[in-house]
């Protein structure tokens, strides 16, 4: 098996200002099916981003899926809803049964289990009903959300949108080569004749 490692997006915490533009943009580009066009006024569903800006005492940085090459989420999914597609770990949202196993398995905390929306409305369970005050009622579908490297467009939206250029799409092969080169050059400096 010839394997190319999965790409992923990672953030530089020294550049992040915590503005959440990445979250807003992520949601926007993933919600065409919910009639989100160009303005805030077109949004009728909660904003569900696939990366999360985390604030600590002296840091702020977004956390998102690392598209692990041995993705624990994919390996534990009981319905094989999580697959590797073109060097990206992708969740098939329609196959997802909301069992929460991937959420537990992910050490990054990259997965959120939240309501599914389509055409501006909550997607309702096919059959499953919930006991409410007035008897059985419809209930919404919950699915696992995580970064999909913007598989529709192929260009992660967060990377371009960040006003501080804090996010980068990493190809580890390219990254390794450039670091090796820099290290070799510095060896040249170190061992000057």
């Amino acid at each position: 098996m010839k394997t190319i490692s999965n790409s992923f997006v990672i953030a530089d915490s020294s550049k992040c200002i915590g503005c959440k533009v990445c979250e807003v943009v992520c949601f926007t580009v993933h919600n065409e099916n919910n009639n989100v066009i160009a303005t805030v006024g077109t949004v009728t569903t909660p904003i569900i981003p696939r990366l999360n800006v985390i604030k600590g005492e002296n840091f702020v940085v977004p956390i998102q899926c690392r598209h692990c090459d041995d993705a624990p989420c994919a390996n534990v999914c009981p319905v094989r809803a999580i697959k590797q597609v073109n060097n990206t770990i992708v969740i098939n949202e329609n196959d997802c049964i909301g069992c929460k196993t991937c959420l537990m398995a992910c050490p990054v905390g990259a997965i959120d289990l939240l309501p599914q929306y389509d055409n501006g409305e909550e997607v309702i369970q096919l059959n499953l009903k919930q006991e409410g005050e007035n008897g059985l009622e419809e209930t919404g579908r919950n699915i696992a959300y995580k970064c999909d490297l913007c598989k529709e467009s192929g260009k992660p939206a967060c990377v371009n949108a960040c006003p501080q250029k804090a996010l980068t799409l990493v190809n580890i092969s390219t990254e390794k080569k450039s670091r090796n080169k820099a290290a070799a050059l510095s060896l040249l400096q170190t061992f000057k004749k």
């Binding site: 959440k20 533009v21 989100v36 160009a38 805030v40 006024g41 077109t42 009728t44 800006v53 959120d112």
Partner: protein, 458 residues
Amino acid sequence: MSINIVNIDKELCTGCRRCAEVCPVNAIEGEEGKTQTINSDRCVICGQCVQICSVYASNFQDDITPIDVKKDERGMLESIKEPIFAAYNIGQAKLVKEALANPNLYKLVQCAPAVRVALAEEFGLPLGSLTPGKMAAALRSLNFDRIYDTNFAADLTIMEEGSELIKRVTEGGTLPMFTSCCPAWVKFAEQEYPELLNHLSSCKSPQQMGGAMIKTYGAKIDDIDPAKIFSVSVMPCTCKKFECDRPEMTDSGYKDVDVVLTTRELAQLIKDMGIDFKNLPDEEFDSALGNYTGAGTIFGVTGGVMEAALRTGYELITKEPIPNIDLEFIRGNEGVRTAVVKVGNLELKVAMVSGLKNVVPLLEDVKKGKCDFHFIEVMTCPEGCVSGGGQPKLLLEECRPIAYKARKAATYEHDSKLELRKSHENPDIVKLYDEFLGEPLGHKSHHLLHTKYVSRKE
């Protein structure tokens, strides 16, 4: 004003300071990474911070005040589901909704030129869609009794301001004269350069001229007691809410403009009332105070007031129509543009400023007596009112230049297609003077359409 119009929600703000970067008066204070506050003495309420803020309240965060409570505090209608952000302006849509249901009130509305090239964006139509017909239809569906228009009032402003400029130029009055239709600019001048207030045109803004006319002339022609009039204006601007509350804006004998809604608030009200905006058939504005020329509609873009003034001023001075009605050399998006316009024997030196920071060097020149412009148009927002603080808020920064370009293009397109393109050719303007005002700068105009400014410097 005990309640601030533009605010930053302490619970939501992450201290990224992108708002501080766009604030033209450095009114946003706070350390990086900590919650920011707005210095209300410096703030000119332009709302650019509201437009850029990207820190939204998540529906799934349970350690903050519930979103419904926040929406209520901000004056938002309950049915509205759009997200809310840290920097915001308070709203009056609920007040207007109540008034619209009150049969004892006579409800009149006027909309700014920049509203009709952006309102449709909130309903999913392309950026810069020109929809004056749908806008009028929506307002009628909302149950307003008369659909008047700020563009008409803009034509009126040109009559007064054009005459005022000519008077100052020919009679040695205070020059340069600055436009006074942008309330954030006016507040800025009052705060920072009160010694130069005599340079400002004494004309009220089109909104306020419109308001004064609605409760005097408008009341008269419809035989309505002005006390029963509820006058609403829809603006691309958050500072217009401040302007309508200015204590001196009561020359009609009542509060000239009762409430200002932003473009966004109007869209929310339309949605709340279940009106299907996208499928409305075009309707007309009401005559008397609703029909306008192209000159009135270009007020919404930087250079528009100047171009409108020149179209009329040229003819007032030379008694000849201006050879070319499209003054391309006045248009553009650089922060300071200048031009020399030959008007008969006069070489009129004019300047257009967009982006409030850009006016400061000019003001400093005026203080030193080094400014030789005759007339300067000042707009606080980057490309004029189409980029105002109350306009539809963009989700993607990369769309911003596209949106501004589209809204401007739609404005000029609208102007170019209108039959009448010069303010003084508006027959309803002529009628208004004939029947009611008399003549520009006359006694009645002076009382109803002109104003005074106040120093706000400590």
